[in-house]
């Protein structure tokens, strides 16, 4: 078996497109933790994030041939992740109230204090706020695109992002 761990993302993708599923395993190992964290950021529920992570990787396999290598694979993957998670929330008629009830007991026992602070900070953000942050920083959408998706003005989108980042920075940044 080739030394896949030394392959670039694009080399792995070429191998996968030729039917090599071991290359897919390497790609999964490389990015699964990052995808899981992004799912968790959006849904704030570990079980839900795990299910979404699983669905996303099957989707990645099915749609990998559409990745044109015009941008980094990670950008494509994180955008797919963002869209999948947001669609999931929408399709489940996600209720902020039930989400809060579910997520209150989520912090992992191994969490250092800083992580628990972040967890509580994210709980304080509304779903809409987390959606805007996810679109901007996970999905790398432009302010114009965010404006269209969230049905708010471009300057309002910019202001929201800037305000939310200031809030995050104030509470958790080093």
């Amino acid at each position: 078996m080739p030394p896949y761990e030394h392959f670039t993302d694009n080399e792995l993708i070429d191998a996968i497109n030729q039917g090599d599923i071991h290359a897919f395993e390497t790609l999964y190992d490389r990015y699964t933790s990052k995808v899981l964290k992004r799912c968790y950021f959006i849904c704030l529920n570990l079980e839900g994030a795990r299910d979404l992570n699983q669905e996303i990787w099957v989707k990645v396999f099915l749609h990998l041939h559409t990745f044109k290598k015009e941008s980094a694979f990670s950008s494509w993957l994180y955008r797919l992740t963002t869209n999948h998670c947001l669609n999931y929330l929408k399709s489940k008629a996600y209720s902020e109230q039930s989400h809060r009830e579910l997520s209150l007991d989520e912090p992992s026992q191994e969490n250092p204090a800083a992580s628990i602070e972040v967890h509580h900070l994210l709980q304080k953000l509304s779903l809409e706020d987390r959606t805007i942050l996810a679109l901007k920083f996970l999905g790398e959408y432009s302010y114009e695109e965010i404006s269209g998706i969230c049905k708010i003005g471009v300057s309002a989108a910019k202001m929201r992002v800037s305000r939310l980042i200031a809030k995050l920075r104030e509470e958790v940044a080093p």
Binding site: L36, L46, Q54, E110, F137, A173
Partner: protein
């Protein structure tokens, strides 16, 4: 994109310490990928077989 903002966001994600994905998740995904690969190959194989080969020759 504003680099500082991106950095702050990445820091928040890094600080979010959640357990690593369960190894059984990987098993399930790899099984699904395996079956999808086989299904794709079988589909391609069937498509390439001339239709006459599917006729029941024993009835002739």
């Amino acid at each position: 994109m504003n680099e500082d903002e991106q950095q702050t966001f990445e820091y928040v994600l890094d600080t979010l310490d959640i357990p690593e994905p369960d190894p059984t998740t990987k098993e399930k995904i790899m099984k699904a990928v395996y079956f999808l690969t086989v299904a794709k190959e079988v589909g391609a194989f069937n498509a390439s077989i001339p239709i006459t080969l599917f006729y029941d020759s024993t009835s002739e």
